[in-house]
């Protein structure tokens, strides 16, 4: 089976320290993967390398069997959506934020698409006209998810999506990710919270000192 997303023997060095020390991961099409580990274990660095926002000093990333370095960054990042721990909202309304991806490629984006996306992440349509920067942490996460979904990605890559949220909002985000996974999306979630990693209900990896292994 062709792997949707694969990291092979990834090494990242910072100031003489090995942040990633030969980490490898395989995410099959439609799979849900949680990478759990303490802070400083290298899991966020791994997510950024898989998103191609950070270049590994050694090793490689592959998407559908192709080396990521052979794919144009804009194309790769449209197929593999990355969400930071506290996603930045762009100036303007929620509607404007949702259409950011298509707009970058000069593609049309209408109200109907926006309503569908906002519905998919469980936010009321009336929020579309709200100023995005005034939203709560949980709402911003959802809008960022919907904004990423507007690019119709194959893989969702999330760095600590629940870390900045209260327990209830965090649990709701994980439930939403399960739902999106249920619709056929590959989901990769990096988290320090064991309960959220388990709640995602897929393959569980442990990350420690720059290396990752499947949780037995």
């Amino acid at each position: 089976m062709t792997a949707t997303l694969e990291g092979r023997e990834l090494v990242v060095l910072r100031g003489g320290r090995r942040i990633l020390d030969g980490a490898s991961i395989l995410v099959r099409p439609g799979e849900a993967v949680a990478i759990q580990g303490p802070s400083g274990s290298g899991k966020s660095t791994l997510a950024r390398v898989l998103a191609t926002l950070l270049e590994a000093d050694a090793g490689s990333v592959h998407l559908a069997g192709r080396d990521a370095r052979e794919i144009a960054p804009s194309q790769y990042r449209t197929r593999v959506a990355f969400l930071a721990q506290q996603p930045a909202m762009f100036e303007g309304t929620v509607l404007g934020n949702l259409g950011a991806g298509p707009k970058l490629r000069g593609q049309p984006f209408d109200g109907a698409q926006a309503r569908e996306l906002i519905g998919a992440v469980g936010i009321d349509e009336s929020m579309l006209s709200r100023e995005a920067r005034t939203l709560s942490g949980g709402e911003k996460q959802r809008v960022a998810l919907a904004r990423a979904l507007a690019n119709a990605p194959e893989v969702l890559l999330l760095d600590e999506p629940t870390a900045a949220l209260d327990p209830d909002s965090g649990a709701r985000i994980v439930a939403l990710l399960r739902e999106l996974h249920g619709r056929g999306l590959s989901v990769v979630m990096v988290t320090h919270a064991d309960e959220h990693a388990r709640a995602l209900g897929g393959t569980l990896y442990r990350c420690e000192r720059g290396q990752i292994s499947v949780d037995a």
Binding site: L53, P73, T78, A81, L83, A84, F90, A100, L104, N151
Partner: protein
């Protein structure tokens, strides 16, 4: 036409103006006394020196000497623009880029004017070429310094925005568009304000100088209009080139944001 000569003793008298600032600095405990003295001495020394250089140049007008002086001015301007950029790359990285940006802006502003508006005889006529190029270099220097200062600072403070756009598939140009626009607006604003207030708030230095030394005001005004338009061109071109260099320094070939250490 005659003009009032300034003797050395009268020139020294004008130093009283610096003394006024020093007294005020002392009374208000600004701690600027040393800077004021050093600035006054250095400024005067530099001007006296360039006065002699120009005198020498006018008497031995050769293209090589004129171009050498312009090159020295360019290097000094680039060195100043690349100095102390907080959160930016080191000076050795910025210096050649500052030189290219300042040089490009100055060439664009100076060459067409001396080719078509104020024809020079010979083409390296130092009386025109040196002071007017100096004004352009100085404006370009300020614009480039401001661009470098601002673009690296805003890329750092708004890194999450830039990366969020990259993650959505934006090219570096798109990801940094907002910061570039704000930077260029800020860099061009002083020059545009100069256009709007000229004659209302201040009579520009060159025009004042020409009038004082006996040029007909009508001609002095025409020269000043040309200079003002040149200043706009130099600011726009130097700013745009500087921002292009800065963007290349901020992203890898794989469209990853790399913030300079510091």
């Amino acid at each position: 036409m005659s003009y009032a000569h300034i003797s050395v003793s009268r020139l020294l008298l004008s130093a009283v103006l610096i003394a006024v600032a020093i007294v005020l600095s002392r009374r208000s405990r600004l701690g600027l006394e040393r800077d004021l003295v050093w600035g006054a001495v250095r400024g005067a020394a530099q001007l006296i020196a360039i006065g002699y250089v120009l005198l020498l140049l006018f008497n031995h007008e050769k293209p090589g000497w004129v171009l050498l002086l312009l090159a020295v001015m360019l290097v000094a301007a680039a060195g100043t623009a690349a100095r102390r950029v907080e959160h930016g790359p080191p000076r050795r990285v910025l210096f050649p880029r500052a030189m290219a940006a300042i040089g490009a802006g100055t060439v664009v502003a100076v060459v067409p004017v001396f080719a078509g508006v104020v024809p020079l005889h010979p083409w390296y006529e130092a009386r025109y070429l040196v002071p007017i190029s100096g004004m352009m270099l100085s404006n370009a220097m300020n614009v480039v310094a401001l661009v470098f200062e601002r673009i690296f600072a805003s890329a750092r403070t708004e890194a999450d925005q830039v990366e969020a756009l990259l993650a959505l598939g934006a090219a570096p140009r798109q990801a940094l568009e907002r910061q570039v626009r704000a930077t260029l607006r800020a860099a061009l604003l002083p020059t545009i304000n100069g256009l709007l207030t000229v004659g209302l708030v201040a009579l520009p230095g060159m025009m004042t100088g020409q009038i004082v030394s006996g040029t007909a005001p009508e001609q002095a005004v025409r020269y000043q209009i040309v200079i003002l338009y040149q200043l706009v061109a130099v600011a726009a071109v130097a700013g745009l080139v500087a921002v292009t260099f800065a963007r290349r320094l901020l992203f890898t070939a794989r469209a990853q944001l790399v913030l300079p250490q510091g």
